[in-house]
């Protein structure tokens, strides 16, 4: 016998690898479980990618409030291929979030959470939470001004939890303020605590797949009955099941490999998110924005009426998780086919549309003053009208331009004033400036009469 084979045989005999892996590979899966079933394994591949690239990054990263930013600059600009490594870790995180989302949608639409797979759904919800937790803490570890201010914003949100809010906020920051104690905590969560939980729950999630089998593709009219389902499933597998390896595994492998390659390509082409300014909490000239996967929440809080947001910040997530956890208990039998469950489809579409549109409005952040609007260049005022001319200068100086646009220059918070003179009379304009409005400061006390006249004269030319 050739020595290689001999060695393999010895190894297998003393270690029992085949014994261990064979049931995993041979376990039968329902026929027809095709491309819809690849998102879960793709999530797992992304997770493995994150662990591997994370270890790579940890070789170069300094987890201290003082040095983290410098070490990130080192990784990005000096370390060989450091930039690519950061890019892969970033797009890997994005990929993991997208795959988790798709996996969850697929599970919901095909009602795969019904008997006997309730626990798969519940552990999946926990895994979703942990994944978002990784995304959030990971963004902080970039430890530039965005990271620092994200920590503050998160602490503020925790602060809205009744009674224990303030304590939780302190725990998150590691004290009264940001400082030497903050980053080490986030590092510990991101690198040890949450990954450990992810391993545990992923293991459990996979064990459940082995124990209960993957759900068969739903057929309209084929109802789940907890009294007979397990027996029926067993018979179905015996009659028409196919071994997982390689008849189902090839799709998982192929799709996973495409995803990983896409992540690498994105990382090389676009690179990691740019580092902004150093993590100096006393630097106030900064515009914090979360990474894209949390951008929709940021948008939500900007658009929500301020009166209710404290309650939404607290009860919203609570209600959401309650609903998610409750789902398999509310309906765990009966129809699984999406064709017979139109509301599941409507609901899923609704959630997807809401989140995607919030992402878009979050990206534009039209509710934020446009601090880059420095001077009006595209307005022409008759040079003879000196009042209007100085008014146009005031329009910028008094920060009107940060929130209002004229000829597409300026901010989008307030109404566009390009043609304001067509809508409002001189008197109405004056009153509005002096008294303000629901979402506009009253300028009455900070403008002299003279300045007010000039501003109005300028706005009167806008017709």
């Amino acid at each position: 016998m050739n020595p290689l084979k001999k060695a393999a045989r010895w190894l297998n005999d003393r270690s029992g690898f085949t014994e261990m892996l064979k049931p995993l590979l041979d376990h039968p899966v329902p026929p027809g479980s095709k491309w819809a079933y690849v998102f879960g394994s793709a999530t797992l591949f992304c997770f493995v990618l994150q662990v591997a690239t994370g270890v790579g990054l940890a070789l170069l990263y300094q987890p201290s409030s003082q040095e983290a930013f410098q070490s990130l600059q080192y990784i990005t600009y000096k370390a060989s291929l450091g930039k690519t490594l950061r890019g892969i870790h970033y797009f890997g995180a994005s990929g993991m979030i997208v795959m988790v989302g798709l996996h969850m949608l697929r599970t919901y639409i095909t009602a795969a959470y019904k008997y006997p797979r309730e626990m798969s759904w519940i552990s999946g919800v926990v895994l979703l939470l942990l994944t978002v937790g990784m995304g959030f803490t990971g963004q902080l570890l970039r430890w530039d001004d965005n990271g620092v201010w994200s920590a503050v914003v998160a602490a503020e949100q925790m602060g809205r939890i009744p009674l224990i809010g303030k304590s939780l906020a302190r725990l998150l920051l590691g004290g009264d303020t940001l400082g030497g104690q903050s980053l080490s905590r986030f590092f510990s969560y991101h690198v040890f605590l949450i990954p450990a939980l992810l391993f545990v729950f992923t293991g459990f999630h996979l064990w459940l797949v082995m124990r209960n089998g993957i759900s068969e593709p739903p057929k309209a009219g084929q109802l789940v009955d907890p009294r007979t389902y397990r027996q029926w499933y067993k018979n179905m597998l015996r009659n028409s099941g196919v071994p997982f390896w390689p008849y189902a595994a090839w799709r998982d492998a192929l799709f996973g490999s495409l995803i990983i390659m896409a992540i690498v390509v994105l990382a090389v082409v676009f690179g990691p998110p740019a580092l902004t300014k150093p993590p100096d909490p006393s630097n106030v000239i900064t515009t914090p924005q979360p990474d894209w996967y949390l951008l929709w929440i940021y948008a939500l809080f900007a658009l929500m009426p301020a009166k209710i947001e404290s309650y939404v910040m607290f009860f919203g997530p609570l209600l959401l998780f309650f609903l998610l956890f409750a789902l398999p208990f509310v309906s765990n039998k009966g129809e699984r086919s999406p064709i017979k469950r139109p509301w599941a489809i409507v609901g899923s579409c609704f959630v997807v549309i809401v989140v995607v549109s919030l992402l878009f409005v979050g990206k534009n952040a039209n509710w934020s003053p446009n601090f880059n609007a420095k001077a009006l260049t595209k307005v022409s005022i008759p040079a003879t009208d000196s009042l209007a001319l100085s008014g146009s200068v005031l329009f910028q100086q008094k920060a009107c331009l940060y929130c209002h646009s004229i000829n597409n220059e300026g901010g989008k918070v307030g109404p566009d004033l390009t043609h304001v003179a067509n809508r409002l009379s001189e008197e109405q304009i004056t009153i509005r400036i002096a008294n303000g409005a629901k979402n506009m400061p009253a300028y009455g006390s900070s403008l002299s009469n003279d300045e007010l006249k000039k501003l109005v004269a300028f706005l009167k030319t806008r017709n």
């Binding site: 914003v153 030497g180 006393s282 914090p288 404290s310």
Partner: protein
Amino acid sequence: MNEQTNLDRRKFLVRLTLLAGAVPAVLVSVPIFSALLGPLLQRQKQAWRRVASLSDIAVGETKLIQYVNADPLPWAGVTAKAAAWLRRETEDRFVAFSTHCSHLGCPVRWEDKAQLFLCPCHGGVYYKDGSVAAGPPPKPLTKIDVRINKNDVEIRTAPVPITTITQ
């Protein structure tokens, strides 16, 4: 051995084993949780910091002042810094505002010509006295203690203000 003593022995051994595991687990957990909950167990003492001379800031002026927070750790680096907006109202009256927006804590900036504080995150606006002028902030900018000490202006370090559900 009869059936009953055998059962008793089994019960005893189960309990003993569980206890043998639980006692060290609890013992070891105490310092771990103390590290985790440290920020709650140790209160930081706030300190007065000199931030300007009287002559640095004119009446009616609002300025960003930067200082070191209450209890900086040796490895805090720039994160030990904190800031506030200091405003001289009259010859001998100063007010200081936290730089944190009362909405979700983003850094508000002072626009001197417009005499407004603007928040970059969700468009909150405050007047020069810290009261809300527009946008989502639920309450005015948080005030920070200021005092005049001979020719110096001093302010007291303060925690990041956290808005609670009832505010």
